[in-house]
């Protein structure tokens, strides 16, 4: 999974590596925006710093010509809710006059098992759409990760994309820097879209995406620090899951789901759907969870007001049934009345020990996955009758 840097953070990383970026300042209130705009000089763009795509269309980016417009933009953007994310900060940025908008990006091609560099002259829009509707408009060059990107590969991608000769060298050089960053910073994606071309043939990174492989954060201490800042925003429950270290996704339904292992949890979701219910979430406690972690998981799902019933499906490998049972008891014994019905199914390692420990007064026990899900869906339906 990837840790997403904010635009302003990614731009800082890129600028430090020598990629030309517009001058900009971060601001978190109206005065800050006005001061920044003054120093940079109008026109400037005021850009919400949240990690979602399509900020422009959603009203998160405004181009302003003077103090009055800047104030209006600041007031409307700072504090807004943008696709579920609270906007706490904006980037005030020099507006660049451009003649062309390019796309350059590096990502891991999972199918090939190697990095791929991409260049397109159709930057400035949703590159996924371009990829779908006009795939040939994106030049792709696969990189051998042992060698890194050869200079000829950067040039080839740029020429293959049809980038104008007047800026080809500069774009190749940005692409090379981008690859070096991607590689040295353990990027999962590094993108500049658009890479603007100005009337005097300069290139400048008008937006910046840098996502970092979370599994590699241990060796990226600087970026791990940025994560603290970057993590702000997002669904409250998802933030809580982040703290607990759960893989958690909130969904629309009312059947809470807890399990171990992504495949099995997804299967449990699928079965809830199969039996006519609607999953409220995906929650994977991971492998080898101890009692406290199990209790935390239950606490999380209970805190979701949408949840009407909970299915707890554990197939123990390195996770032990007795630990699961202890955690469930711990979580439920604190309540005078169990807030939402919990169905438990334990299998695999130490399931018999687990069943002995489990306080069956507090939960419903089922022997098979199918029965457990069916029962949980039934409980949820009862609540809504």
């Amino acid at each position: 999974m990837a840790m997403k840097l904010h635009e302003y953070q990614a731009k800082q990383v890129f600028a430090d590596a020598g990629v030309p970026t517009p001058s900009s300042q971060l601001a978190s209130d109206v005065d800050g925006v006005l001061t920044a705009a003054e120093e940079i000089g109008y026109p400037v763009a005021v850009k919400a710093q949240v990690q979602v795509g399509g900020r422009g269309k959603a009203g998160g980016i405004e181009l302003v010509e003077n103090d009055e417009e800047a104030r209006e933009a600041a007031e409307s953007i700072i504090g807004m809710d943008l696709k579920g994310y609270h906007v706490g900060q904006v980037l005030v940025e020099e507006a660049v006059n451009f003649t062309d908008e390019l796309y350059v990006g590096i990502t891991m091609d999972r199918g090939e098992g190697k990095p791929v560099a991409m260049v397109s002259t159709k930057g400035g829009v949703n590159i996924e759409e371009v990829a779908e509707e006009d795939p040939d408009a994106i030049a792709r060059e696969h990189i051998d990760p042992a060698f890194g990107m050869h200079p000829f590969q950067a040039r080839k991608a740029v020429y293959d994309a049809g980038v104008d000769k007047s800026v080809a060298n500069d774009v190749a050089s940005v692409l090379t820097t981008l690859y070096d960053l991607w590689e040295s910073r353990d990027g999962s994606d590094a993108e500049i879209n658009p890479l603007m071309v100005t009337a005097d043939d300069e290139v400048i990174a008008a937006d910046a995406v840098m996502n970092i492989d979370e599994d590699a954060l241990f060796r990226q201490p600087e970026l791990a620090e940025m994560e603290e800042e970057a993590a702000s925003g997002g669904d409250e429950l998802e933030q809580k899951a982040d703290e607990y270290g759960f893989d958690y996704v909130r969904l629309e339904g009312n059947v809470g789901i807890i399990g171990n292992g992504a495949g099995l949890v997804m299967t449990t979701l699928d079965l809830v759907d199969y039996y006519g219910g609607e999953p409220a979430n995906f929650l994977d406690v991971g492998g080898g969870a101890k009692a406290a972690r199990i209790a935390n998981a239950l606490d999380m799902v209970f805190s979701d007001d949408n949840v009407d019933s909970v299915v707890f499906n554990i197939f123990g490998g390195i996770t032990r049934g007795d630990e699961v049972a202890k955690g469930i008891n711990e979580a439920l014994e604190q309540f005078d009345e169990i807030p939402k019905p919990v169905v438990v199914r334990l299998a695999g390692t130490n399931w018999e020990e687990g069943m002995e420990i489990l306080n069956e007064d507090l939960v419903t026990v089922e022997q098979t996955l199918e029965d457990a899900v069916e029962r949980t869906v039934a409980y949820a339906e009862e609540v809504n009758e």
Partner: protein, 290 residues
């Protein structure tokens, strides 16, 4: 017969002096696996789980004729441990470790193209030939000897499906957890080929999940090269597009491939029935080997 592992397999455990490494080395031996050595830098000359520990995998190969490594090394060092295994003329390396940086695995992937050693994993439960030997962390007691080969991207989902089979008295030749990471060693196609060429395997279960195109590629391979009947299962039918669900692989791209629909229809087109529930998968297998 069986694939990749049997009771002749001679195992070196990389990371055998760590908590997990030691525990699972013991578990493997208890199941009957022939664990002959451990390899931990700086711990050479010691003993762990009742076997001698060497500083390098090469020494374990030289001194104890190890031919297979099971890797329980923390993620920061696991890439290097895999490289060491691939440099040691082993037949097989099984990387259990979860959370190896993707770029490390991209480099490993490159080296895999240059070596004869097979890698299973990383981020996988390992593999097991019931009644003979297991490599990794699978709970041995749910497996039983028989004629069904199983390959899966997901650990606990494997257990679930195996449980359904075993409960009906359907045993397994070998079960392989290939792992859910973006970059893995042995993939569906490799595993299917192994089972297809195994005389004892009479039916195959393939458990996939959303994300990537491995299941689509497997379907194409089955269509052309696999005569053994295959039953499939795909987890993640209800996963909303664009949401991550655990495995990095499980990202729905939103477009044509990678979705549950795409995978199921590719498998169906290749003549592979896909169960709606794990029980249904067992139903199909029961029909195949009836």
């Amino acid at each position: 017969m069986s694939v990749l592992v049997d009771d002749d397999t001679r195992v070196v455990v990389q990371g055998i002096t760590g908590g997990e490494g030691k525990f699972h080395a013991e578990q493997m031996m208890e199941y009957g696996t022939n664990v002959v050595a451990g390899a931990v830098p700086g711990k050479g000359g010691q003993e762990a789980a009742g076997v001698p520990v060497y500083d390098t995998v090469h020494e374990a190969v030289e001194e104890e004729n190890a031919d297979t490594s099971v890797i329980f090394v923390p993620p920061a060092f696991a890439g290097d441990a895999i490289f060491e295994a691939l440099d040691s003329n082993l037949d097989l390396a099984v990387a259990i470790t979860e959370g190896i940086p993707t770029q490390d695995m991209a480099k490993v992937n490159k080296r895999l193209s240059e070596t004869d050693t097979r890698l299973v994993g990383p981020n996988c439960p390992g593999l097991i030939t019931p009644g003979e030997a297991k490599l990794g962390i699978l709970p041995g007691n749910i497996f039983s000897e028989g004629k069904v080969g199983l390959v899966s991207r997901s650990g606990t989902l494997t257990y679930q499906v195996v449980d359904n089979l075993t409960n009906r008295g359907i045993g397994q030749t070998t079960a392989i957890g290939i792992g859910g990471d973006p970059i893995i060693g042995t993939d569906f196609v490799d595993a299917l080929e192994l089972f297809e060429n195994d005389d004892e395997t009479e039916a195959i279960v393939m458990c996939g999940e959303i994300g990537g195109e491995d299941e689509e590629e497997a379907a194409a391979f089955i269509d052309e090269h696999v005569d053994t009947p295959v039953a499939g299962f795909i987890a993640g039918r209800t996963a909303p597009p664009g949401k991550r669900m655990g495995h990095a692989g499980a990202i729905v791209s939103g477009s044509g491939t990678g979705t549950a629909e795409s995978k199921i229809s590719a498998l169906n087109d290749a003549g592979v029935p896909v169960g709606d529930t794990p029980e249904e998968v067992a139903d199909h297998i029961e029909e195949f080997i009836a």
